[in-house]
């Protein structure tokens, strides 16, 4: 395969793989510049923050604030925080550092009551839904694995989330809660925080805020002068080293 073509075919996409599962994390390219969650990424030499000096002041303030240490927790209790962190990290597959502090970001949003503008008639407000979900997850985990959700092994947490996503969890809490809708309430909040973080933008090669600079190369396959190419298939260093005799 010629260099740079690793992702031209789509063999890495879950829909085209057995069990709709992603390729193993160990096969992913490592980030060389900037930070990405778990230091994996498709653009090893791209750091969106390199462009921060080209952004307008208002945007820069908002984005840079996401990189600073989060203020203390205000919404989740200690017990809830453990479960919430485990849920956030399972949904976003954050299995090691560096991690985007999704739980703290959600905590801030809920404490400020920054809701999305609607509530299903059969659901409580989003903050109550969160508390119920966390209680429900612990209840299911205790019943099945004899430990709270946060202390279950990764595959146990994933198995619970898989049923949660299909809306089929049962128990004292989930019998009273529209499980499928609860899943969308919590996952949308989690993903909105995760993908607002510049580390996630590095991982996926998003250009970031582009005002006032804008874009000038619109066509397919074209790249802005400051953008970086996707990861290459082979390691250039190894390639240049002559094979041992």
């Amino acid at each position: 395969m010629p260099r740079g073509d690793r992702y031209r075919n789509a063999e890495h996409l879950p829909n085209l793989r057995a069990g709709r599962r992603a390729p193993p994390a160990a096969t992913l390219p490592r980030q060389r510049r900037g930070t990405t969650p778990q230091m994996v990424g498709r653009y090893p030499d791209y750091d969106v923050m390199d462009s921060a000096h080209t952004w307008d002041a208002a945007t820069r303030r908002v984005v840079e604030a996401r990189l600073r240490p989060r203020p203390g927790r205000r919404f989740f209790s200690d017990d809830e925080a453990d479960t919430a962190r485990a849920l956030c990290d399972t949904v976003t597959a954050q299995d090691r550092d560096p991690r985007i502090p999704v739980m703290l970001m959600v905590d801030e949003k809920l404490a400020d009551r920054r809701f999305d503008g609607y509530r299903y008639e059969d659901m409580p407000d989003d903050d109550q839904t969160w508390r119920l979900v966390l209680r429900g997850l612990d209840e299911v985990a205790q019943r099945r694995y004899g430990a709270p959700f946060a202390r279950c092994a990764e595959d146990a947490r994933e198995a619970i989330c898989e049923q949660f996503s299909r809306g089929v969890l049962q128990g004292r809490v989930f019998d009273q809660l529209n499980c499928k809708r609860a899943w969308t309430v919590v996952t949308r909040a989690i993903l909105a925080e995760f993908y607002s973080h510049p580390w996630a933008w590095n991982e996926i090669g998003f250009g970031g805020p582009a005002y006032p600079r804008g874009y000038m190369r619109l066509g397919e396959g074209l790249r802005e002068p400051h953008a970086r190419p996707e990861a290459v298939h082979d390691d250039p260093v190894r390639e240049l080293t002559p094979p041992a005799p």
């Binding site: 503008g117 909105a192 090669g205 998003f206 005002y211 006032p212 066509g219």
Partner: protein, 569 residues
């Protein structure tokens, strides 16, 4: 005008009777003449009090101000200063949307919030995508032509010259338009992004014709509005002033002609006297929490579909125990959305879906009824944007989370996204009512019930499958789909009588003859066109009718306003 001549004049014709683009400050965004804005006392009976500074309310104010009307616009949200208040960032744009709780129900509930309505001077167009198509002539008579929906009491002819005027004011850029009534646009089509080029290729292989535009984005300079810089944050508010919103297209001119736009003012009640005449609007000054009332000789409500109905329902009295104009139980009914599933296709090359404005190319080839498809009316096909949070919601909706989601997210730059707008039919039980829950001011919040009918379901399923086929024809390597809705309309529709509508062909409510519905609420159907241009054109027509005194009540109010002005001088 001949097409050739129109082509030659593209981008060079200045709008008539609207100097907004020339009033703007080239160095700062937003409304420059705010510091010399006129102020009216609450007790000063103005000629017209408008609730809502959005698409409908702003055009109405601008037009009538030029005819000497004394107008106050009450707007619940802030008066935006785009340089400071808006950011090029998805999560940071939360405050642009109407995010106070609304309760949603029915069998197919509509998720509101960022996808539906705005809050602040400029209304929802501040964060609208920017598509600006006209309705088709058929949209105004679907009942008699297609046997579904409702006939409007006005026709395309009544709106045509207002469409042309607004297209010049926004301005709209695009190729010559072959669908509906064929027409051309004042600005040339924009260059297309990699994503739009992909959609175009797929469409060609399917025998689907597409056109570039129509988008309310300057292509070239207009007055002090610059060219688009293709940065793709149209749904987060255009910090460039290239994309149209009333904040820059109508309010500067309105303010120059004496309109007061009173921000942070939440209307909670339209006051009506014993003779069933509106006498003013009760509102809460959100900064002080104070309850006040602006007196007015006439009132126009333009708070968009949900809030307009809610305001009428909140305005109860002995004569109107179930809400103003609701003695016939019509307020809040026939509220509509469009079915808006999106399907993304994966390609070997990097496409960079975040570059360029989300609205790029579209097709109305499927707009009209085709009996072979098995349902009445149709849909339009459009490109949509790709930003990380939106893309994550898309991937999640297809059932991926955890490592699988991360993998699709890393693949972001290889995806092109396409969407449709399916015309969904007006149904009486799709309705805005009041919920038990109260807002921060003690007012019951809106409840919106929504259930699709069979025709709606067939339309959406057909359109979704067509998009999938299009991507497969285009040799997409994988596809991901999400079901969603877009665009609110209706709730206080215009019609032929009080038993099945709230207002007449002149937007005048049947029950209160100096009360007007001036926003998207008045539309009886939505077609598969994005609604903002039509909402503005309707407000422009209403202003013409009021200003030329074609609406009978208004003669007296207009005179009384004039007489007061003369007496005061």
């Amino acid at each position: 005008m001949s097409t050739a001549l129109a082509g030659l004049l593209k981008g060079s014709r200045r709008p008539r009777d609207n100097d907004s683009a020339w009033l703007l400050d080239p160095q700062r965004r937003g409304v420059p003449n705010r510091d010399r804005m006129r102020h009216y006392d609450d007790s000063d009976e103005v000629d017209l009090c408008i609730v809502g500074a959005g698409a409908g309310g702003s055009v109405l104010a601008q037009r009538l101000a030029r005819r000497g009307w004394r107008i106050v616009v009450l707007e619940s949200g802030p008066f935006w200063n785009p340089d400071e208040d808006w950011v090029s960032d998805e999560a940071g744009s939360h405050q642009l949307y109407w995010t106070e709780t609304r309760v949603v129900g029915g069998q197919d509930p509509v998720e509101l919030g960022k996808n539906n309505s705005g809050h602040g001077v400029g209304g929802s167009m501040v964060h609208f995508a920017g598509y600006a198509p006209r309705f088709h002539p058929s949209d105004f008579r679907t009942r008699s032509q297609d046997g579904v929906g409702y006939d409007w009491p006005i026709s395309y002819r009544d709106l045509k010259k207002h469409y042309e005027a607004i297209e010049r004011e926004l301005p709209v850029a695009g190729q010559h338009w072959p669908w509906g009534e064929p027409h051309s646009y004042p600005h040339s089509p924009h260059p297309v992004s990699g994503m739009a080029a992909r959609v175009w290729k797929g469409a060609l292989r399917m025998g689907i014709e597409m056109r570039v535009g129509p988008v309310a984005i300057t292509n070239g300079v207009m007055g002090n509005r610059p060219h688009c810089i293709y940065r793709g944050f149209c749904l987060q508010g255009c910090k460039v002033d290239a994309k149209a919103s009333p904040l820059i297209t109508h309010l500067p001119d309105a303010i120059e002609h004496g309109v007061e736009v009173r921000a942070e003012s939440r209307a909670i009640r339209v006051e009506v006297d014993d003779a069933d005449r509106a006498t003013g609007v009760v509102y809460i000054d959100r900064r002080s929490g104070e309850r006040r009332m602006q007196r007015a000789a006439s009132v126009a409500v333009a708070g968009y579909s949900i809030e307009t109905s809610r305001l009428l329902l909140l305005s109860t009295s002995a004569r109107f125990p179930n809400g103003l104009c609701n003695n016939e139980d019509q307020v809040g009914r026939y509220v509509m959305v469009q079915g808006a599933p999106q399907v993304a296709g994966r390609f070997p090359d990097e496409i960079h879906p975040y570059k360029g404005p989300p609205p790029e190319v579209s097709s109305e080839q499927f707009y009209e009824t085709d009996e072979t498809r098995g349902f009445a009316r149709g849909f339009s096909l459009q490109t949509v944007g790709g930003l990380p949070i939106g893309w994550a919601e898309h991937v999640l909706a297809d059932g991926h989370w955890g490592q699988a989601l991360r993998e699709y997210m890393r693949d972001f730059n290889h995806w092109a996204v396409m969407g449709v707008l399916c015309e969904l039919l007006p149904l009486p039980n799709n309705r805005v009512t009041l919920a038990d829950e109260k807002d921060a001011y003690g007012m019951p919040v809106a409840h919106m019930a929504y259930t699709q009918c069979d025709n709606d379901r067939r339309n959406i399923a057909y359109a979704r499958e067509l998009m999938r086929q299009l991507w497969l024809q285009a040799e997409a390597q994988d596809v991901l789909a999400i079901d969603r809705y877009a665009h609110l309309i209706g709730g206080c529709r215009m019609g032929f009588g009080p038993d099945d509508s709230v207002c007449d062909a002149d937007h005048t409510t049947w029950a209160v003859r100096n009360l007007f519905i001036a926003d998207g609420s008045c539309c009886p159907t939505q077609g598969s066109a994005n609604p903002a241009l039509t909402i503005m054109a309707l407000a422009s027509r209403l202003a013409e009718r009021l200003g030329s005194r074609s609406i009978s009540f208004q003669r007296a109010a207009w005179r009384s306003g004039r007489q007061r002005a003369v007496a005061a001088a």
